[in-house]
């Protein structure tokens, strides 16, 4: 699953650690999300979407 987390984070000038703190996860988890190695749980996807003020569909895209 692709996502826009890195772009959204960089637009807000946040470090991975700072975003992780906001989301309640570790810096490594943010890194894994950004590189697509880890797909978040539904609750975490909602938290990410809420934090950026977007819908889940605008952030996460299913690979076709």
């Amino acid at each position: 699953m692709r996502n826009e987390i890195r772009q959204l984070r960089e637009e807000r000038s946040l470090s991975q650690g700072a975003l992780g703190t906001e989301l309640g996860v570790s810096r490594q988890t943010v890194n894994s999300l950004e590189t697509g190695r880890y797909d978040p749980s539904l609750p975490l996807a909602f938290t990410v979407a809420r934090f950026f003020g977007l819908s889940i569909e605008e952030i996460f895209h299913v690979d076709d």
């Binding site: 650690g17 989301l23 309640g24 996860v25 570790s26 810096r27 490594q28 988890t29 894994s32 190695r37 880890y38 978040p40 749980s41 609750p43 975490l44 909602f46 938290t47």
Partner: protein, 144 residues
């Protein structure tokens, strides 16, 4: 809805200390039983191993609270403060360990029929499983 489990700090801390005390009790009890059976060196090894695990867990807990940004998956798990990815890594590596342990026990059983000393096999099994657990954890952690 929550992204991670948010137990109260007191509950989390109490569970961690309880786990440490239980682990120490098991290690010391086992060491005592082995020492009484006349294997003092093995008993010393068990105590040393148990203490090493406690020290590593304490280090992980300290690191995850004082340098949370630099703490790794293993440190957060040892500290009892994992996030959802840490739990996924833990789950994945335990799943691999489970499959490998079934295969290893089957091979060990077959080896006894081929004349391999059963005592040697049984005594080497914990080391083989520990090595498997470490390798599985590292691989799953890198891939997740």
């Amino acid at each position: 809805m929550s992204t991670i489990d948010h137990p109260t700090t007191h509950k989390s801390t109490a569970a961690w200390y309880l786990g440490i005390v239980a682990g120490l009790a098991v290690a010391l009890g086992l060491a005592l039983a082995v020492a009484n059976a006349g294997h003092a060196d093995t008993a010393a090894g068990i105590v040393t191993g148990g203490m090493l695990v406690v020290v590593l867990a304490a280090t992980g807990r300290l690191r995850s609270s004082r340098a949370a940004d630099r703490a790794g998956t293993a440190a957060r798990l040892a500290a009892g403060r994992p996030d959802e990815r840490d739990l996924r890594v833990h789950q994945g590596s335990l799943a691999i360990l489970g499959v490998v342990s079934v295969i290893l026990s089957g091979l060990a059983s077959a080896a006894t029929f081929l004349g391999v000393d059963a005592t040697t096999i049984v005594r080497s099994m914990p080391f083989a499983l520990l090595l498997t657990a470490v390798v599985a954890f590292v691989v799953v952690n890198r891939r997740t």
